[in-house]
């Protein structure tokens, strides 16, 4: 296997240093937009992990992203007013994505569903979740104060909804014992904490993915990609290794989804849609399936292109689709 070389470590550092300076060098808008690109980068990294290294092409990696986002939103909206932090929401979102990936992965890999069928099952999964999320427009689709909202996306209701800030999904908020007040990770004129959070998570996920691939799990996964029958005949239970890597990738995608919901304070069914699923595949393809580092810098370029000639406007006729374009500065 290709060991992460010193060149790559250098490239990672060269990438990181300018990104660290962004909040001071540019307006909050730039940091805000770069943050969502990095969030998409984390999603792309999760796909790159299973596709590039285990050869499992998951067309519906966005299913885990969306589940993470919706679960974070539902729990966060309910608990933020009581506990003033989002620890449980983060845990819940991660758990939801991990569980979904584990269950779907179990049925796929233990049923020995191969290549293109795995792509189709995951695609069907994300499209069915899309159909589900779209059909939740009615009054009865609430969890506590969190309304699913159908096409319009998730928002809060009840007394607290008089104030627009309470009406939206909360940003990642931490209140550990010993802290005087809860600390929200926002991106605005006063604070770039949300930006550094996303940057930090990107970095940690990159290092984590590298470590994972250097471990026994990663080496067996690469063996499976090259020749599954041979790995199996050497006595490895390939189903288990595929399931493990798929579950971890699902969890990472879920994490990206939670960061997305917390960043835009918003999530709508389009995160499950075919367009988002396919663009994720395109990012990974263009970034290089096996260069984990490739995902992060390329993403901004593609996203910027997408903002210039947005296909979403043609299909939906609404500009709300891409939340970075309806950016309203946070107070």
């Amino acid at each position: 296997m290709r060991r992460p070389s010193s060149t790559e470590a250098l490239a990672a550092l060269l990438l990181l240093l300018p990104l660290l300076a962004v909040p001071w060098a540019f307006k909050p808008y730039t940091a805000n937009v770069l943050a969502v690109y990095m969030i998409y980068g984390i999603l792309a990294l999760s796909l790159s992990l299973i596709w590039g290294y285990a050869g499992i092409m998951s067309f519906g990696q966005t299913a885990f992203f969306g589940i993470g986002a919706y679960a974070y939103g539902a729990i966060g909206l309910n608990l933020i007013h009581r506990t003033h932090q989002t620890h449980l929401a983060l845990l819940g979102g991660l758990l939801a994505a991990t569980l979904l990936a584990a269950v779907v992965g179990y049925f796929m890999f233990y049923g020995r569903i191969s290549d293109v069928y795995a792509s189709i099952i995951t695609m069907a999964l994300t499209l069915v979740l899309f159909a589900f999320a779209v059909s939740t427009g009615g009054d009865e689709w609430v969890i506590g104060v969190a309304r699913f909202g159908g096409f319009n996306g998730m928002f809060g209701q009840g007394e607290s909804s008089q104030n627009i800030a309470n009406f939206q999904i909360p940003p990642v908020t931490v209140w550990l014992p010993g802290m005087a007040a809860p600390f929200p990770f926002k991106i605005n004129r006063e604070s770039a904490a949300g930006y550094f959070l996303v940057l930090g998570v990107s970095g940690v996920m990159y290092v984590l993915a590298r470590a994972l691939l250097a471990s026994r799990l990663g080496r067996v996964a690469i063996g499976i990609r090259e020749n599954e029958a041979r790995v199996a005949s050497l006595g490895y239970d390939t189903r288990f290794y595929k399931l493990a890597l798929f579950t971890i990738a699902g969890a990472i995608a879920g994490l990206a989804g939670m960061l997305f919901a917390a960043w835009g304070r918003f999530v709508n069914p389009d995160r499950f849609g075919l367009g988002f699923a396919a663009s994720t595949v395109v990012y990974v393809l263009l970034g290089g399936r096996t260069t984990l580092l490739g995902q992060t810098p390329l993403d901004p370029v593609l996203q910027w292109r997408e903002q210039l000639i947005s296909t979403d406007d043609v299909t939906n006729g609404i500009a709300i689709e891409n939340p970075s374009r309806m950016y309203i500065p946070d107070e």
Binding site: R112, V116, M123, A124, E140, V142, V145
Partner: protein, 310 residues
């Protein structure tokens, strides 16, 4: 359960099966036989529906004429796409997937530019008939008979005609077929065109009962793929049997509420509760779950399972 309820449930099951057969038949050729993951299949369906809309609304043709026209128009679109794009990508499954996704976006964009992003309806003149206390649309019976004839027609075409033999030979072993004097590129083109045309026919037949909107294809593509995958290697009969099993599950879950969950929201009138089962998208979710579990038990799909037992 009284007799008329039983009758209406049976009719709804039949209707679900019909819709799955219509959605999956074209894909059974394109994906089941040719192994092309065609993400533009949903847009072929949409194009069929819009052909009917254009014929009825703007050219003032009768409905049946529009429906006959749709498979021809969409088949021609399919042949053009095969010649221009897919022909260059045989043996590269992933590239085909992304290219057809591009085609899908292009078609959605084109249709939106021409017709606008609004939902339009197609009026039709059939009424309802009575099943005991219930009334049921006659048009659904027409749909079932059309779906059955299309299925039978495709089966006979591939089983008994010279075209069918050549197409099957081409798909089984292109080099051998080519050596035996079959024009294989032409066979691929025609099979793809036929698959597209069948999707167009499905869109045309379903156009009067659904809202015709440029993005309608996305709602159907997942179910079409699932049906073909569950069908397995004996493509046509497999698709028919998986459509029957999945349609049965979908219709039952869409009709009957299994249980209710109170949500404590603010509803008018209260109380707020979600009924699990009893609406169309729960049927879809049940269909997906059932398909995934079925594939765990029968990895080769339904028809692969019969084949093993023989």
């Amino acid at each position: 359960m009284s007799l008329d309820t039983l009758g209406i449930v049976a009719l709804e099951i039949l209707n679900s099966i019909t819709i799955l057969v219509l959605l999956a038949l074209g894909l059974a050729l394109i994906f089941g036989m040719m192994r092309i993951v065609n993400l533009a299949q949903g847009e072929f369906f949409t194009a069929g529906a819009f052909t009917v809309l254009t014929a009825v609304r703007y050219a003032h043709l009768p409905l049946w004429a529009g429906m006959l026209l749709a498979p021809l128009v969409v088949g021609a679109i399919g042949i053009a796409i095969e010649r221009l794009i897919i022909r260059r990508l045989y043996g590269r499954p992933l590239d085909v997937m992304l290219a057809t996704w591009g085609v899908s976006l292009l078609l959605i964009g084109l249709i939106t530019v021409i017709f606008g992003a609004v939902t339009q309806g197609i009026p039709f003149a059939l009424g309802n008939f009575q099943v005991g206390r219930y009334s049921y649309p006659e048009y659904r019976i027409v749909m079932t008979s059309v779906a059955a004839s299309l299925m039978l027609g495709v089966y006979l075409l591939f089983r008994y005609t010279a075209f069918g033999r050549r197409a099957r030979a081409t798909i089984a072993n292109p080099q051998m077929a080519s050596a035996a004097g079959i024009n294989t590129p032409r066979m691929f083109m025609l099979t793809f065109g036929l698959g597209a045309g069948l999707a167009g026919a499905a869109g045309a037949i379903m156009a009067p009962i659904v809202g015709v909107v440029p993005t309608m294809g996305v709602l159907y593509i997942a179910r079409a793929f699932i049906t073909v995958v569950v069908g397995g290697p004996v493509v046509l009969l497999g698709t028919l049997s998986s459509a029957s099993v999945l349609g049965f599950i979908e219709a039952l879950i869409s009709r009957f509420s299994l249980f209710k969950i109170g949500t404590g929201g603010h509803c008018a009138p209260p109380p707020c509760e979600i009924s699990i089962g009893g609406s169309a998208f729960f049927g879809q979710i049940a269909l997906l779950i059932f398909a995934i579990v079925l594939l765990r038990l029968l990895p080769q799909g339904l028809s692969g399972f019969w084949r093993e037992r023989e």
